[in-house]
Subunit: 317 residues, 2 copies
């Protein structure tokens, strides 16, 4: 499955109206997921008249990696706390959270955020605005780990070699209602959902939420880290390239001709609409995919060739 | 199960602060379901400083019963259209919709409203504001009925004796994804949910939405119609009684001593907070309840006695 969407950075003066007959196949600014914008009267029109990069959800891009100057102190503290061993998927979520992909979340969800996500597919900020948040980002622990933590207010998250990855602060432990989580996330409780099988059904009966302090940027040391740009790096890149529109293509499979047509056609339409410098963000999904999917390494390498460089596959013009 | 909530009509000058230690057992204005209010910065404070009755969701109380002067014409039109026979539960939903209990809905949900309800437990108005809408209010039809309707833009809804109840206009027919509806509404797909068994699992494979024109106010002729006040009648009654706070007690069971304590205690606290004339809305649930529940007729009659009159059981001071 692949999705395409466009983010418009500056107000264009379209030289030609957008052809209405093509509308169902193309995301205009008005068709962006509505809940990803702040709610309130006038938000629809505001989406068209923004200048510069759109704001991160919640207004500020979250960065949970501690300052270099604090690293020694945090690492020392991490060694003194109860530990929770993270699975590979848990570490990928720490990665997502740490770089602000899930802004405004500052760590694994506490119960209030978890329930808002399940019931409203969104989360409410202190100022009353609402941002899209449709996937629970939670950390499961079992009864034994819960007892070990006892009344502590923070715990250390470690990898499979017991290296400390992060500290989770002001923790809250609450019930992991697996059936409800699956039913409300997927709209079904059928057996065989890959993520449910892998990360929910056999996970612990409790969830632990809190604020993350991540000791070092998450790296996978698989030869692909240089392609994993953070949201902050992507924003810098869009600015450096002076993009007036960014269109994103996110996919789980190798790029095929149909994808290529969608991408070139979208670029053509953006130019027709009056944008001068639309930039494509090509976004192969890493992390957990289906067992029979083409592995990430092959998919990235298939994008290679003479032009392959640090930002080559991630941001193409 | 019983629930209690308070709506404050005028700004009080509390003579005594609300005792914090009791908070978990009592709904203060700040604990009203958040999504039932318009979203946006400042909404929390606005809830405290309203004067007069709070606004209906969407700003205007919906009334779908046609004007007396149009009745003959609508009835004549109703007899010329394809018909859908309503179940007892369907007619109860027409009742709910017709009097504005589900404002701003103007009829059975179209797909956009249905999906917003399933995914966001709320619905977005044209001005961008969002109101609470957590239960799908939908009308199911089967393949035969769908074929009968064909390309018509309106249909007539009839009772079990083929008497026309309403016309549904500008209809939209869409798939009734029963499993997803159940999973997202209840957070489980376990068998034996009474409403799912009664109204979903064996219902038709399609849903039909549209705008309702209801020919006459819905009556049940069971001796209890005089207790069924509409939202408009309740609002008039609150105004007539000069209420400065309304606290509602909604229940499926006969009132017992625990309920009575909750109600008298709430009244005492409202007086302590500075309200001068809090009014209780006692709201026994009619319609579909569990098979072994005490029937509605008995529950209403149990509230009777010397003081029983038209508004007696519905609005008590």
């Amino acid at each position: 499955m692949a999705t395409i969407s466009s983010l418009f950075l500056k107000t264009p003066t379209p030289t030609q109206p957008f052809p209405k007959t093509h509308k169902p196949h193309f995301s205009t600014p008005l068709n962006l997921p509505r809940s990803s914008r702040k709610l309130g009267p006038g938000s629809v029109t505001r989406a068209r008249i923004r200048c510069g990069l759109i704001e991160p959800d919640g207004g500020k891009l979250v960065n949970l990696v501690v300052e270099e100057s604090q690293k020694a102190q945090i690492t020392k503290r991490a060694l003194s706390l109860a530990q929770i061993k993270l699975s590979k998927i848990d570490i990928q979520w720490v990665h997502v959270l740490s770089e602000g992909w899930a802004s405004p979340l500052k760590g694994f969800m506490r119960e209030s955020e978890f329930l808002q996500t399940l019931h409203f597919n969104s989360t409410r900020l202190e100022n009353g605005s609402v941002v899209n948040m449709s996937v629970p980002i939670v950390l499961a622990i079992d009864d034994f780990q819960k007892n070990q933590i006892g009344g502590s207010s923070r715990v250390t998250l470690v990898d499979d070699k017991n290296n400390p990855i992060a500290i989770l602060n002001d923790i809250e432990i609450y019930k992991h209602n697996k059936e409800e989580r699956i039913a409300r996330t997927w709209g079904t409780t059928v057996l065989g959902l890959p993520y449910a099988d892998e990360a929910i059904i056999n996970a612990g009966n409790w969830l632990i939420g809190g604020d993350l302090e991540v000791i070092e940027p998450i790296k996978y040391n698989d030869g692909l880290d240089r392609f994993r740009l953070s949201p902050a790096e992507l924003r810098d890149e869009f600015t450096r390239r002076n993009a007036d529109a960014v269109f994103a293509f996110q996919l789980r499979n190798p790029v095929h001709n149909g994808h290529a047509l969608l991408m070139t056609d979208t670029r053509r339409r953006l130019l027709e609409m009056g944008y001068k410098n639309p930039v494509l963000l090509l976004h192969p999904l890493g992390g957990y995919t289906k067992a029979d999917d083409v592995p990430l390494h092959w998919r990235i390498m298939l994008l290679g060739g003479p032009g392959l460089n640090r930002t080559g596959p991630a941001v193409l013009t």
